[in-house]
């Protein structure tokens, strides 16, 4: 038995579950909407965002630009104009603050609305455009309707990509290698091709396994 490495006996009686997400052949599961409401109020994190200094992030503090024409931005339009350049760039929030399972699981994790609300309970935005977007996430929390993000990075269902192993080897700053520098992206777009040749190039350079069943099973 492989008992020792199992996540067993975790005591939540019933898990959130939503059946309206149809996942068909070539299943690749992502985080699901929850219809369970948290008992407590989200912790109001008085964030001073000191994290950047702690992780030794080398990029200088950048001021995110004011975007007037969103139509010119690359990448799909999202239900909320969430700006990685503000959060990760200007405010220097580390990637793992929101995508917090990336170092332990194959799935990086999409932050729960609770995570957003943790800060935006306090932070309301300085300009009317910001305020309008932040209101959307506050409404999402109040109405218990999470936003439906449009997926940017997707792999075919026959590919397994263990995020945790890549973070383990390359470090928590290495997200940039595949996702591009989101600290300067007002709207996230697909940076790399994510095609197999692109994966294999890196595996060849680093002289790591290129076995097919590493990713395909």
């Amino acid at each position: 038995m492989c008992a020792i490495y199992r996540w067993r006996y975790i005591l939540a009686p019933a898990q959130p579950f939503h059946k309206h997400i149809h996942i068909r052949h070539r299943v690749l599961w992502m985080t699901k909407r929850s219809d369970r409401v948290g008992a407590g109020v989200a912790i109001a994190l008085l964030l001073a965002f000191p994290a950047a200094a702690q992780t030794g992030q080398s990029t200088p503090v950048t001021k995110a630009p004011v975007i007037t024409d969103t139509a010119r931005l690359l990448g799909p339009r999202q239900p909320i104009f969430f700006r990685h350049d503000v959060h990760a760039g200007q405010d220097q929030i580390p990637c793992l603050y929101c995508h917090n399972t990336v170092a332990v699981s194959s799935e990086p994790g999409i932050p729960a609305v609770q995570t957003c609300f943790g800060c935006h309970q306090m932070i309301g935005g300085s300009t009317p455009t910001h305020q309008a977007e932040i209101k959307k996430i506050r409404d999402a929390w109040i109405n218990k309707k999470p936003p439906e993000w449009t997926r940017v990075h997707a792999l075919p269902g026959f590919v397994r990509f263990p995020h945790q192993r890549h973070i383990k080897i390359l470090g928590t700053e290495s997200c940039i290698n595949c996702h591009g520098d989101v600290r300067v992206m007002p709207q996230v777009y697909q940076f790399a091709t994510l095609r197999m040749g692109w994966c294999v190039t890196c595996h060849v350079q680093r002289n790591v396994s290129r076995d097919c069943t590493l990713c395909h099973y």
Binding site: I4, I23, A140, P162, N207
Partner: protein
């Protein structure tokens, strides 16, 4: 031109067409990512969470670990802490998932409208209606029919029925009435004791199918394989197993000796053996045996041998062996306990155990089985009589389907009941004839408990939110109907305060409760009780009634109805995994059959697949013939489980219902006779059986090797009795050169360094053929079920299959059967690999025969070249929603394992030793800066195997279990002469019999 370039060119010319076709490789169709509102505690996306709960597929009450990914249960595994199943799980348990996600589940409360059509209604309305009917029915007769509920739910119903003057009847089609009555006759207690198979040194089964449906099959099979498995280091290896019964059941296939006693004479054989033990003083005989002395004398071997159909010398030999083993265990059940004299047969077998001094040793009263509390068939028939007489005004049915097991009588009686309420989650026959359906939660979604045996308190917790939000826990509904406060969970906790008082007084209740939830329950020992023969035990030895009312012959055969291992009493019939699971004996899928002996078939001039009309005085069915030497010539046998008139898309109108042939009158012991006289008429119709059997005989191909016990004992380390089957010597030089070339090739680039070589060892001395591994593989690897039509075309997808071959039968040799699991052998020199034009089949650095689905173009050359026939081709798109061959209609698709690709049409697939588990373990190990430990990876088949016959590991790790087993002198490779160098080592079966070496 290289073959790969050839295909590239070919691809370029056909490129335009390909781009437009469906085989275009594009990213995942998932368009949106929907975050959690609040992340669930302790759950990480991508990592499974395991919850301990209890299996409710039969009365055994095995412990479960439910594997939950992102809020959905995707796999069930045995709970290693449960003293019942020790971490193992059978096919029916695995398939509980298909009950949970069944597409035919009732989603909301429904009531019959004025024109008889179903109308959905709200829960408040539904509960209001029940309360109104309850008021009306007070004093006019209220009855509640359930399956066996050994825990708090049963107590709730008992208490409520007492309160309102109703009665609670349990309906289990296999309720073991004869076992209870036989124990009462012999020992004065109607309890079902604990049978210690693990410590038995000699096992005789009088019809008991203890690896199939008898009481607690996983537990018994696990114990049995410990006793019966061959262990060269153990002094008294192995425990001999003798099976007595008119038909070679799965349990009988493991036997060293099959005695096809005439039906109904099993008791005589037991008494005759007891007679030998007593008269020859083979064991220290207890004094109270004098009470049965006369009965034993009446059953002396010479007197009864002819009736049984074996020689008196055989009886004497069996008795000697049984007594000499000093650890004999005789069990009676199955068909032997379903004759009219079933209770007497059980009592006779009890006497045999008693005179051999085994009662209190291998059979212990005290830790009694929960089924002792089950109702009897007699109670059900009494209820039916009352219903017909109009004495029942309100009937509740939960977890039982008597309209299927007692078709005519119950359905007729239902018509006389004023109001019928069903808690069924699928519209089975009983629910379909109801006025109101209140869909219950599936056991995996609800709180409950079970007491599978005295001292074991197994808890059930919801492992996920209900699949259908419109369903409700029957316990909650009942509490509301009864006007009581609180939820069923609170009721459950209240009743657990008693357990807390007994076993956890030192801790607070909440801590005790949480701990019990973590472990799946509370496991304690029950004190043993001493039993002695009763005063009127002699009555048992002189049956009042003959077993059968006539002497069976091929012209007037005895028809035996036996429980199906997969479908049980029919409750599994709407699960594709169980329908497609080949019966371990007949290998027939999706259909029932009638077993006929070759001589009888010749007499009737029928062939396999010919449809005959079986007519008893109670009903008639049309059944296809399956000719087998594993049944007596004067007996024909049919399985239960099929022939549903409702229940769901996979069960409905499929084959015939064997219960229709049986009498509805109870036997003297309150049970039901599963044997009946039938008239057989040929119809001239034929039906090709959807069988997965290739050849009924092994034909000496070396697929299954058998050693006699004597020879196996003589083997020493380093010897290889199967050497003669290996590659001829003249090929040695060529092989060496080939091996060198392989090593060079294999150590290039990132293949250099120490790679594991994954391998497996399968001990055929332990494998019983129960097929739990097959269903586990379906569950783990997203195997499609293809349906009867495609199975008939041999297009089933079972990566793991059980091959069954009959032995003996000619020249007076006894008939037997051998079984072996057959899966991809992960050849070191695989014939499939070099023929793949696109390198989809290739050799991985760690010794697997990889199969890259997205590379595969479906030439099927690999399957053509595979000598083991373990590659399976997707002829259709089984995952296409709404498609003709759809295998996972919504919401069944929720049980798909997200770690395994669902294959498309045109793709070859096969076993890869659960490569997703291997990679998962490697990922975990890498994260923790260590290497993978031996035993850390367990493929689904090895994990499920109730006999623990399968061991997986790294052959390069000399300290691993599998490396040691690969060196076992019993080890051999299937078709070794082909030089495929398989990664699977089979250990030859060992048979303790006069004739062996098939």
């Amino acid at each position: 031109m290289e073959r790969r370039r050839f295909l590239k060119v070919l691809g370029a010319t056909g490129g335009a067409a390909a781009a437009a076709s469906a085989c275009d490789i594009r990213p995942e169709p998932t368009q949106h990512l929907i975050p959690y509102l609040v992340p669930p505690e302790n759950q990480v996306p991508g990592i499974a969470t395991y919850y301990a709960t209890t299996c409710r597929e039969c009365a055994a009450g095995c412990g479960l670990h439910a594997k939950v990914r992102e809020g959905r249960v995707i796999k069930l595994e045995g709970n290693p802490e449960s003293p019942i199943n020790q971490g193992r799980l059978c096919s029916r348990g695995q398939a509980a998932l298909q009950g949970l996600y069944n597409p035919d589940r009732v989603t909301d409360p429904m009531a019959r409208g004025p024109n008889g059509q179903w109308q959905k209604l709200s829960w408040e309305d539904a509960i209001g209606r029940v309360q109104a009917k309850l008021r009306e029915a007070r004093g006019k007769g209220i009855a509640f029919v359930t399956g066996l509920e050994s825990g708090s739910f049963g107590e709730l119903i008992d208490g409520w029925m007492k309160e309102i003057g109703g009665r609670h009847v349990t309906c289990e089609p296999f309720a073991f009435e004869a076992l209870r009555e036989g124990n009462r006759l012999a020992f004065g207690t109607a309890a079902i004791p604990s049978y210690d198979f693990a410590n038995a040194r000699y096992v005789v089964s009088f019809g008991a199918d203890f690896m199939e449906t008898w009481l607690s099959p996983v537990a018994y099979q696990n114990g049995f394989s410990r006793a019966h498995g061959f262990d060269a280091g153990r002094a008294a290896s192995m425990a001999k197993f003798v099976y007595v019964g008119p038909r070679l059941a799965l349990t009988g296939m493991s036997a060293d000796e099959w005695i096809a006693a005439a039906p109904g004479t099993e008791g005589m054989l037991a008494l005759a053996m007891a007679h030998v033990i007593v008269t020859r003083r083979l064991a220290p005989v207890p004094t109270d045996v004098a009470r049965v002395r006369a009965a034993l004398d009446a059953n002396a071997p010479e007197r009864v041998a002819a009736a049984i159909g074996i020689g008196a010398d055989v009886i004497v030999r069996l008795a000697r062996e049984f007594a000499a083993s000093q650890g004999g265990l005789a069990v009676a059940g199955g068909i032997a306990a379903q004759y009219a004299n079933g209770a007497e047969i059980v009592a006779a077998v009890n006497i045999l155990n008693y005179v051999a001094g085994q009662v209190g040793k291998t059979i212990r009263f005290g830790p009694n089985h929960a089924l002792e509390a089950a109702g009897s068939f007699q109670q059900l028939t009494e209820l039916v009589a009352d219903m017909s007489a109009g004495k029942v005004a309100l009937l509740f049915v939960h977890g039982a389907n008597p309209a299927h097991s007692l078709p005519a009588a119950f359905s007729e009686a239902l018509g006389h009941v004023a109001y019928r309420v069903s808690f069924a989650s699928c519209l089975d026959e009983t629910a379909a004839a109801s006025d109101l359906v209140l869909p219950d939660l599936h056991p995996l979604e609800q709180w409950n408990d079970a007491r599978p045996r005295a001292g074991v308190y197994a808890l059930q917790q919801p492992v996920m939110q209900p699949v259908f939000p419109g369903t409700r826990h029957a316990g909650d509904v009942l509490l509301q109907v009864a006007g009581k406060t609180g939820t069923f969970k609170e009721h459950l906790q209240t009743s657990w305060r008693g357990v807390h008082q007994r076993y956890g007084r030192s801790r607070a209740f909440d801590d005790f409760w949480n701990e019990a939830l973590q472990h799946g329950g509370v496991y304690a020992d029950a004190p043993a009780q001493a039993v002695h023969l009763t005063l009127d035990v002699a009555r048992a030895a002189a049956p009042e009634k003959p077993a059968l009312g006539w002497k069976p012959s091929p012209d007037e055969p005895a028809l035996v109805v036996f429980p199906s291992i997969a479908l049980h009493d029919g409750r599994g019939a709407n699960k594709q995994w169980l329908q497609e699971l080949p019966d371990p004996v007949s290998k027939i899928t999706w259909h029932a059959w009638v077993e006929v002996h070759p001589d009888t078939a010749a007499k009737w001039r029928v062939a396999s697949g010919d449809i005959v009309l079986l007519k008893s005085s109670f009903g008639a069915v049309r059944a296809p013939v399956w000719i087998t030497a594993g049944v007596r010539p004067d007996v024909i046998a049919v399985p239960t489980g099929q022939g549903h008139k409702a229940y769901g898309r996979y069960a409905k109108d499929r084959s015939f219902n064997a219960f229709e042939l049986l009498s509805g009158a109870p036997t003297p012991y309150g049970g039901r006779a599963h044997v009946v006289s039938v008239a057989v008429a040929t119809t001239g119709d034929h039906r090709s059986l959807a069988t997965t059997e290739g050849d009924a005989r092994e034909q000496g191909r070396g697929v299954i090797e058998v050693l006699s016990l004597e020879r196996a004992r003589a083997l020493t380390r380093g010897t290889h009795p199967f050497e003669e089957r290996e590659t001829p010597r003249y090929a040695d030089q060529a092989l060496r050169g080939w091996a060198e070339a392989q090593r060079e090739k294999a150590s290039l680039g990132n293949y250099a360094g120490n790679q594991p070589r994954w391998g497996m060892a399968i001990d055929l001395a332990k494998c019983t053929g129960c097929s739990a591994c097959v269903t586990a593989c379906y569950a783990e690897n997203n195997l499609a079920t293809v349906g009867e039509e495609l199975v008939a075309h041999r297009r089933q997808m079972s990566w793991m299959r059980i091959e069954r071959y009959f032995t003996g039968g000619e020249a007076g040799r006894p008939v037997g059967a051998v079984v072996t699991p057959m899966l991809c052998q992960q050849c070191g020199n695989a014939p499939c690999e070099p023929v793949c034009p696109v390198y989809a089949a290739y050799h991985t650095a760690d010794g697997l025969n990889g199969q890259v689905y997205n590379r595969c173009v479906g030439t099927r050359y690999c399957a053509n070249n595979c000598p083991y026939k373990v590659r399976y081709f997707n002829w259709y798109n089984y995952a296409e929603p709404g498609g003709e061959w759809e295998s996972w209609p919504d919401p069944l698709n929720m049980l798909l394992n997200p770690d395994v690709t669902v294959r498309e049409k045109g793709v070859m697939e096969k076993c890869t030793f659960c490569v997703q588990r291997i990679r998962g373990a490697q990922n975990r190990a890498r994260l923790e800066d260590r290497t993978v430990q031996d035993g850390e990876i367990t493929p689904a088949c090895a994990q499920a195997c109730p006999s623990e016959a399968i061991v997986f590991g790294d052959l390069h790790d000399k300290a691993s279990r599998v490396a040691a087993l690969a060196q076992d002198p019993r080890g051999y490779h299937v078709l070794e002469g082909l030089n495929t160098q398989p990664g699977i080592t089979y250990l030859a079966r060992v048979v303790d019999a006069v004739v062996a070496e098939a």
